[in-house]
Every structure is written in structure tokens, then in C-alpha cells.
């Protein structure tokens, strides 16, 4: 097993055991599946963000992309069941297009992805409310909400099935040629380019995958929570946090997609545990902040003890390699 997975799986196991200890019902299949259902959108988003981060970039636009997608879906479907399917296809197309634009601006024009996707965040937020005059309108159909809300068979929710299928897909993708070139690009873009990797295209594809993951997360979140102008707020930071907790280095070339998704489950189980312990909703953020800093401090110390060949022992990955 990948060594970078050890810390996150350890933390996740401790948290899950702690939850089960506080609330023994947690191990009942329906309760545990409900937990996975809640975690599915963030886990998918973390997988998408993983591709971008592993390639050495950032995607800050996914939060407002989710909001935009949900608001667009509600306005276009407007309660009409027949519109469900083409709207879902349209959402996926919009997600992919957003990723394509992010990737093109970053790779062709040399704009740092932090700025390119920050600009995209502002544009999407402005555009979607411009279109709806400031407040979400319309309604989602039951067929649309089925994916985020209902079960496929028995007690197994749609969102868990989707998470499993896409998760397996992501793992297989990382084992394919694309995955290898993605890691090579994130590790050392110049070396990868000299070895014949089409770096621009690899990075753009990573942004497209991230946009698609935001579209799927939007379908699940819209179904689960309904239409609101707040639905995606802060999701970009939650996804990046999850990815980093999962042992993936900002700056690229390290970590695994399983780790990123495990990181998302860790964030979600942290919420669940804090809730069970009755930590007030407000202080929850403070505890979350502390734990995230501590966890990353712990992982970055661990990885520093085993410098990778060719990188120089004290090459400052800590605060320096972030935003190139």
C-alpha cells in the first residue's frame, strides 16, 4: 500500500472508532450509509481537486461552480420532470467547459491557477446571480433529487453507488498512462515535457476532471439539500483541505486519489464527532482549524524525514513550493 496513505487512514480509523464509541448506532448499516451519503459530494470534489493539485495547480472555482450548477438546474428544470435528463447532461457540459477554460487560461496564457480560478470564482458567482436577478428561482424535479436523496435498492443510497463507481474510475485512471503522466507533470513539469508529455493538455484535462466532479457534486448536493445560493460556499477550501489531509502535497507530484477521498471522509467524520460531542456549531470551526493545522504539521514532518532523491534535503517545500 502507498505509504502516504498510512497517516490519513490511521486518523480516519481513530475518528470512526471514536464516533462508534460515542454513538453505538453508528455501526448499523443505515446509519453508516447515511454518513457516507453525506460525505459523498465532498469526497467526489476532493477526487477532482486531487487531479488538479497532483498536476501542480489549484482549483478555487469549484465552490461557486457548484452553486452556479444548482441554481441553473433549478431555473431550467422548474419542476418539469421531462427536463431532468438534458439538464443533467448540460450541467456536466458546463462543468467540463469551466475546467477547459480554467486549464486554457492557466496553461496557454501562463496565469497562475490560483488567480485564474479565483477570477473564475468571481465570474461564475456574478454571472449566475445576474441571470437569476439575485435569488435562485425555479425548482428541481423529484427525478433530479433522486440521486442525492433516494436509495437504489434497499438501504443503499444512489450517492454511495455513484461515489464507489467514480472512485474506482479515478483509481483506474491514475493507474493508466494518464495517471503516470499526471504525476510526472506535477513532480517536475520540465522533465515531463522533455520526456514527451504534453504538459498543457495533461493539466487542462485535470481541470476538466475537477469541473466534472463539481457538476456531479452539484447534482448530489442539489438533491440532498435543495436549492440555495449558499450551497457551494467554502466547498473549494473544504476540498483542498481534504486533499491535503489525505497526504497529497500542494505543489504536485505526490499522494494518491484514495488518500484524497479518505481525507474527505476524515473531514466529514470530524464534523460528525464534534456534533455528537455537542461542541457548539460555532466552536466547531475553531476545533476544525486546529486539527487541520496539527494534522498537516504532523504529515509534513513525517515526509521531511524521508526526502525523495533528487529534491535536496532542505528544499523548502514547507512554505515555498506552494504557488509556483
Amino acid at each position: 500500500m502507498n505509504r502516504s496513505l498510512v497517516p490519513v487512514l490511521g486518523v480516519l480509523a481513530v475518528l470512526l472508532i471514536a464516533i462508534a464509541f460515542v454513538n453505538p448506532n453508528f455501526v448499523d448499516p443505515p446509519v453508516f450509509l447515511a454518513f457516507l451519503k453525506r460525505a459523498a459530494p465532498l469526497a467526489l470534489l476532493a477526487a477532482g481537486q486531487y487531479f488538479v493539485i497532483a498536476s501542480g495547480e489549484f482549483d478555487l472555482s469549484v465552490g461557486s461552480l457548484i452553486t452556479a450548477e444548482v441554481v441553473i438546474a433549478a431555473r431550467l428544470i422548474n419542476g418539469d420532470a421531462d427536463a431532468t435528463w438534458w439538464v443533467i447532461v448540460l450541467l456536466l457540459v458546463i462543468g467540463a467547459l469551466t475546467g477547459l477554460v480554467n486549464g486554457t487560461i492557466t496553461t496557454r496564457f501562463g496565469v497562475p491557477s490560483f488567480i485564474a480560478t479565483l477570477g473564475m470564482l468571481l465570474i461564475l458567482e456574478g454571472a449566475v446571480f445576474l441571470w437569476t436577478d439575485g435569488a435562485p428561482r425555479g425548482a428541481l424535479s423529484d427525478e433530479f433529487r433522486m440521486f442525492g436523496r433516494n436509495n437504489v435498492v434497499g438501504q443503499i443510497p444512489w450517492s454511495v453507488v455513484i461515489l464507489l463507481l467514480l472512485g474506482v474510475g479515478a483509481v483506474l485512471l491514475m493507474r493508466s498512462d494518464f495517471g503516470r503522466t499526471l504525476m510526472a507533470t506535477g513532480d517536475n513539469a520540465r522533465a515531463a515535457a522533455l520526456a514527451g508529455v504534453r504538459v498543457s493538455w495533461v493539466r487542462t484535462t485535470a481541470f476538466i476532471l475537477s469541473g466534472l466532479s463539481a457538476a456531479v457534486a452539484a447534482v448530489l448536493l442539489g438533491g440532498f439539500g435543495g436549492v440555495s445560493a449558499q450551497v457551494g460556499r467554502g466547498m473549494e477550501f473544504a476540498a483542498i483541505t481534504a486533499v491535503v489531509l489525505g497526504g497529497v502535497a500542494l505543489g504536485g507530484g505526490r499522494g494518491s486519489v484514495v488518500g484524497a477521498m479518505a481525507g474527505a471522509l476524515t473531514v466529514e467524520s470530524l464534523f460528525t464527532l464534534l456534533n455528537l460531542l455537542g461542541v457548539s456549531g460555532a466552536l466547531e470551526y475553531a476545533v476544525q482549524g486546529l486539527i487541520i493545522i496539527a494534522a498537516v504539521a504532523f504529515t509534513s514532518r513525517r515526509t521531511d524525514e524521508h526526502p525523495r532523491p533528487g529534491r535536496g534535503i532542505r528544499r523548502g517545500r514547507a512554505h515555498h513550493s506552494v504557488l509556483k
Binding site: A286, G289, I293, D304
Partner: protein
Amino acid sequence: MTAIAARVRLPSGGGVHLALALVLVIGAVIVAVDGGNLLSQPSITGILHRSAALGIVAVGQTIVLLVGSLDLSVAYLISLCSLVAAETMAGQEGMVLPAVLAVLGVCVVVGLVNGLVVSLLRVNAFIATLGMALLLRGVIDDQYDGPAGQVAQGFQRIGYDRIGPIPVAALLMGAVALVAWFVLTRTKLGYRIYAVGGDVEVARLSGIRTAPVVVTAHVLCAVCAGVAGLFLASRLGAGTPTVGTDGGYDLESIAAAVLGGTALAGGKGGVVGTISGVLLLAVLDSVFNALEVDPFFKNVVRGTVIIVAVAVYAVRTRRPR
């Protein structure tokens, strides 16, 4: 060394001044066609007022960006500082100085923690300051339900008074920028900040102890956020838990600095460009306000301007190779 210093001193985002001039001229023409006057005295005062808070934060953000770090906690820190200031003052003139000192104390602690976590614990600055943002958010949400405290009457003059056409707020922004400019270009600390941001390993091998430089930069950035918090408290008359996040000061300050030619990777740029970047955004806002454009459209244009401007810089710097 002097050659390097001389090169460093040049504002690398020279284009932003040109862009600012262009936007000002084009904006003035468009507003004039619409029957308004962008260059009227109230309008210019408005532009300066609008840019003060973001300008002060962005100057601090520029310092941490130059050292190769960044600070995502400034928005919540601003809110917290406005609350601390207003609660300490509680409307009494005599408590202004203690309030200012309390705010600076909070900022120094937050900056120290940010800097130490980044430099000694070697946590990625993005995560470290995002964690700090969550921490501050937790404290604010737990302690305050809404606006609290009241600033002293005399203190409100910082937010509203002006000397001739120039608001005191703009003078405050100018003073902060001037101090930062002096520190960055005329002191040992400034050269070290550029050196560490340019290449931390080279700086270390040249005998610079890099950790204190990074920590100092974070403290300076936090203090700037505190000054912005004080200004916003004086403007609103009370402390407000959402004043920092509503202004989007975390990401917008980074955008303004980069718009002004400061490199995200560190080591390149300066506060002069940043102030032009902030003024550019404020002029755009004023043009849209004068034309009574849908406020949501503003975000679309802001995002586009930021992307296009940075793309132009990037393409221009790449060409000579």
C-alpha cells in the same frame, strides 16, 4: 548586491499604472457620455474611500506574498479586530489608545502564530492560514451574534473626515503603504524578504536566518489587517462579525497584489503596484456605480479584469525568452 537591489526596487508590474490610467480615462469618458462626472471631487473622494480598507490589507498581503507565503486569515482577523476595538472603546474617548493597543496585540499574536506554523512547523501557508481563518471564525461565531461595542465619537473621524478632497482614510492607506515601501526597499529586513521569497534555499546559504524573516512578514501582514479593522470599525461605528468576510478581503487582497505585479511565488513586486491595483478595482466599482450597473455584473467584470491583466503580464514576461 546593489545591482540586485536596484533591479528589485523597480516596480515589476509597471503595466498596472498604465492600466489604471487607461481605466480612469475610458471610465471618465463613458461616465461623461452617461451624463455623470467620474472626476468630480465627490466621486474621487468616493474612490479613495472605497479603496482604503482593501488597500491597507493588500499592502500587508503584498509583504507576505513577497516572502513566498500568503495569508488567508485576514478577512476574519479584520472582523475580530473591529469587534475588539469597538468593545474596548465602548464609546469612551479615553479608551481609544487602549483599544488600538489591544487590536495590535491580537494582530501580533495571530501573525506570530501564522509565521511560526509556516516557518517552523513547515505547514504549507495555504493550509496554515486557512486553519487560522477557521479558528478565528470559530471564536467570532462563538462570542458574537451581531454588531457589538461602540467606537468613541472622536474615533469615527478617521472614517469620515477629509482634508480638502482627500479623506483621512486615504491618508491612512498612504501612510501604511509608505511605511511598507520604506521597509521593503530601504531596510535590511526588506532585502531579506525579497531574498527569502526569491529562493529560500539561496537565501539560507547566503547566511540569512529565514524563519525570523517569514515570521516578521506575517506579523506585519496581520498588523495591516488590524489597521483595516480599526478603520472599518470607525466607519461603521461598531464592531461587526461579518465586515471582513463580506468585503472578501482575503482573496481580493491577493488579487489586488497580483494585479499590481507582485508574483504569487514570491520575491517580485512591491506595494506601489499593489496600491495601483487597488485603485484600479475601486475606479471600476465607481464607474459601475455611476452607470447603475447590476451589482452582480461587477463581479463578472472584476474576475475578467483580474484574469486578463495577469495574462497580459505573463505573456509579456515570457516573450523575451
